[in-house]
Subunit: 338 residues, 2 copies
């Protein structure tokens, strides 16, 4: 199989390369693509060097799977060319996610949807993937009527430049120097702010809308009630979420814990005695979603309320890893290990 | 009037001094107290210098109001001596908050409770005060049945040493050096973690329990349903909270905004067009509570759901300012301005 990575020089591109290298994908199976600005850049890969090529309509000849992570505009422009060339596109942008002809897939949740594709499969928003990794197993076991979620999102969700800006601002503030905010709209270091996506007339921002609409599509449940508040915190990597669930059928924390213990890709980190729960530093660079603070919501007297706190690497499971796992489903066996 | 500050050398002690200086309280009206370790320390105050004395049973002779912010153990030990000396104690620790003989007061919410005191008045937990400043006006206008709150709490909530530890860890990580965590149990810099207070068998931590129990006491509503998730974020100062309300009677965001616009001590910061909402850097050092992201909860079809996001300085309104305002109520006019 031959793979293209469109957007190979970004933060998610890094993760694609790390995951594919780890799976033993040969350098000869890879084509790295980016904008003209990054073309010619060399990237080390498994003891050799790959040269980034400029993405054009012809870039996808001979490619089986094209991973796109270069923004919605580039996906809209080049994904159709990739499909025409015979590739299956797995798109990390939001361009096609809500397109009824495009499946939106978290492989642990709705793998079968992969096979309804017409050339393009969409990778959900990072906050959505991370939430559903914990919520979908509970949804299947007990039913979920309502989700109230507040996020603690890392800078790197806004890309590599945002991660560097957090670092630079932190240095400047510690040194007593003025800061500049070029990538993110507000001071990121030692501050928090509501997510930097557009607000509609309802008062929700686009990130929050994505969590609602994408979750409903992935779970095939348009009646699922969700409200989200998306907030950026000065963490370089890995998103966390505080999740309040109203179940359809009452369940105890132990029953929920058992379901999460058995869920693929999830690790329960819920050590009350040592006050040890999911933290972004523990989730960073890891494939597993961390879930903890599993407790009965004391504000719901009927036993249908469950509180959770989760952390997951939004560049891995929230982006590149999920896309590679979609390719695994397509290939009907883990790519690179056959 | 003569005032004692018990715990004058701590982070909250600083704020007491700043607020009292700003109100024109004379150095001669102040007695600064601390543990033996800090006794003899000089503190600049309105062009002069005050010397910190060791707190003893005799420290409160001639004092009218004693502000305590030296931890629960010291309050339990010395507050009775202060009362015996004729002082009214306004205690910032958790020692007496749930004592049925001690009023627990946010002056904007339940000022009349001040006058039921028997020598001690308790200042609520910072996260509780900050939440109620926004929620109580809504509670009075429309009724509130249920609150789901996730916090984004600053390091300084754990004291001055925690604030310094955040700074030191940030420097160490940026310089590529190993970090040490002596004050807080986990890495504070570039990380978030669930609140460092003890977890009971229900899975809630003590900070979350305080928010529930104290809110019920202040609002005189033992049936109020509340669930909180308390999380520390790498912010030096000012707590933020994401609040989901279920109202008793439906209200539109505009109706809620009008109520908050009229609420004392609250400033609505809700600029959707410019994506400008409450941030800890804007709340730090300020007396006002910032409230924004006011929107109809899309997961509540009956119009009874309201979402809010708030930031407030937990050392000011969350601690010292609230205590001084309790003294204002006691004195029936703002102290230092008569």
């Amino acid at each position: 199989m031959k793979f293209a990575i469109a957007g190979a020089t970004g933060a998610v591109g890094d993760e694609f390369l790390a995951i594919l290298a780890n799976r033993g994908i040969d350098a000869g199976q890879l084509r790295l693509l980016a904008s003209a600005r990054s073309a010619g850049k060399k990237i080390a890969y498994r003891g050799t060097e790959l040269t980034v090529a400029e993405m054009t309509a012809e870039s996808f000849d001979g490619i089986d799977v094209a991973f796109f992570s270069a923004g919605g505009g580039r996906s809209r422009e080049y994904a159709p060319h990739a499909v025409k060339s015979g590739a299956v596109v797995i798109d990390n942008s939001s361009a096609y996610r809500m397109d009824p002809d495009v499946p939106l897939v978290v492989p642990e949740v709705n793998p079968d949807d992969v096979f309804t594709h017409k050339g393009i499969i969409a990778n959900p928003n990072c906050s959505t993937i991370i939430m559903l990794m914990a919520v979908a197993p509970i949804y299947r076991a007990f039913g979920v009527e309502r989700i109230v979620c507040s996020t603690y999102q890392a800078s790197s969700g806004a890309g590599r430049q945002a991660m560097l800006e957090l670092e630079q601002q932190s240095r400047d503030l510690l040194d007593g120097n003025p800061i500049t905010a070029n990538v993110l709209p507000h001071q990121a270091a030692f501050n928090i702010f509501n997510h930097n996506s557009g607000i509609d007339e309802s008062g929700y921002n686009e990130e929050e809308r994505k969590m609602v609409n994408e979750s409903r599509k992935i779970l095939h449940d348009n009646g699922l009630r969700i409200s989200a508040t998306c907030v950026r915190v000065p963490v370089p990597r890995a998103h966390s979420e505080s999740i309040n669930l109203t179940l359809a059928n009452a369940a105890t924390p132990d029953e929920v814990r058992a379901v999460l213990d058995a869920a693929p890709g999830v690790r329960v980190v819920d050590d009350r005695e040592n006050n040890y729960f999911p933290m972004p530093i523990d989730a960073s660079g890891k494939d597993e979603m961390l879930v903890g603070r599993i407790r009965q919501d004391m504000s719901q007297p009927d036993g249908r309320g469950i509180e959770l706190f989760i952390s997951g690497d939004q560049l891995r499971k929230g982006a590149a890893l999920n896309a590679v796992q979609i390719a695994d489903v397509l290939a009907k066996s883990p790519i690179g290990t056959s």
